[in-house]
Amino acid sequence: MWNKPKKEDLPPRPEPAQTPAAAPAREAIPTSTYPTRRPDEAATRGAALIGKSLVLTGKISGREDLLVDGRIEGDVDLPENKLTVGAGGHVQGGIRAREIVVYGTVHGNMEAAEKVEIKRNARVLGDMRTARPVIEEEAYFKGNIETVRAEAPKVAVQRPAAPEPPVQPSLPNAAPPQPEAKPGESRKG
């Protein structure tokens, strides 16, 4: 992000209301990393979980949905899946996923082919690039938003066997793909 996010840019975050479920238990119960409140039970069912006491440093990549209630310091790359940052979750790094939903904190750039959704009370410092940006108004967001066209879903179509087409000579002067313009490069000095 070209506006270098700084920690001091973050406004004070209101303390979450104490819920009865969060009150200390009388009996000594082994602490679980399983979150007491999941953002969207149905939407995150079956997702891999980084529990609230876990801190991961390094890059995460894979092919399954992920719910983060702990802390990740590094990039997350789930191009075909959904990443949910829970209310207590914190990602310090870039995120690439099919869909990103943030209830907690993200400090880094986000790219999602389908949708980025920033929920109320979430805090995001970073740029986003997606087909559908959704930011609730009580969310804190500071960054650049760029909308891209949604990719058409890939559908496997079985075609009848066809004769091999004649081989086309490759074009020697074919233009290489242009790199995408970064924010701030659209204008000179």
Binding site: Y140, I145, K188
Partner: protein
């Protein structure tokens, strides 16, 4: 401006206050400038508003401009201590630090800036420093759209959330809590933007001055 305000219920997302829907000549001029057929860089310092995000960035509606979003007032309130805000006294270099931290962009980056009514909620020295920085931030043919309440009653006011409903309609709703507000009139607005090339006022029947400014 031929304001045609109409009262509406609370805005989307459960806005706390009643909303005013009005035709905006400033917005219309700005939108015409944005229809350049190529993606531009727009900056909205009123904070994230879904309608504005959709209107400016949606590739199916327009050119799919890039939109930088920040709530400048929240950034101000976070950066300065309560005492500094209360007394309006800042140690040397403090205002420059603030401007450098929240407006840290290359010069001439922005093709359009939406500052809405935010400048009125800053002390005069902070507003002047922000305006000077925005002047360098704007590209030569860019626009800045501002709103100024000319009501001089001295009462605290809540800042507006400004929603772009279409290319000429704004929906304004006050977002509590009320804050101390600097009163501006056309002469003080001219003075604030004295280094800008053009300051265009749109006549309003109400105590809201709409201003389109070119660097």
């Amino acid at each position: 401006m031929n304001a045609s305000p109409s009262r509406a219920a609370a805005g989307p997302a459960g806005a706390a206050a009643a909303s005013d829907s009005r035709k905006s000549h400033g917005l219309r001029a700005l939108v015409a400038a944005l229809e350049a057929g190529k993606p531009l860089q727009v900056m909205d310092f009123g904070g994230p508003v879904q309608e504005n995000i959709d209107f400016i960035t949606d590739v199916s509606i327009g050119a799919g401009h890039r939109l930088y979003v920040d709530h400048l007032l929240h950034s101000y309130e976070y950066f300065f201590s309560a005492k500094e805000q209360e007394e309006g006294v800042f140690r040397p270099g403090r205002i420059e630090e603030f401007v450098a931290s929240v407006l840290d962009f290359p010069d001439q980056l922005a093709d359009a800036i939406l500052i809405w009514d935010r400048l009125q909620f800053f002390p005069p020295e902070v507003a002047a420093a922000v305006v000077a920085r925005l002047h360098r931030l704007l590209a030569p043919d860019a626009f800045l759209l501002g709103l100024f309440r000319t009501d001089s009653s001295g009462a605290d006011r809540a800042p507006y959330t400004c929603r772009i409903m279409d290319g000429q309609t704004l929906l304004l709703s006050e977002q509590p809590p009320p804050r101390h507000i600097q009163t501006f009139n056309p002469r003080t607005i001219q003075k604030l933007f004295q280094h800008y090339r053009e300051v265009k006022f749109f006549v309003s029947r109400e105590s809201l001055q709409e201003v389109l400014i070119r660097p």
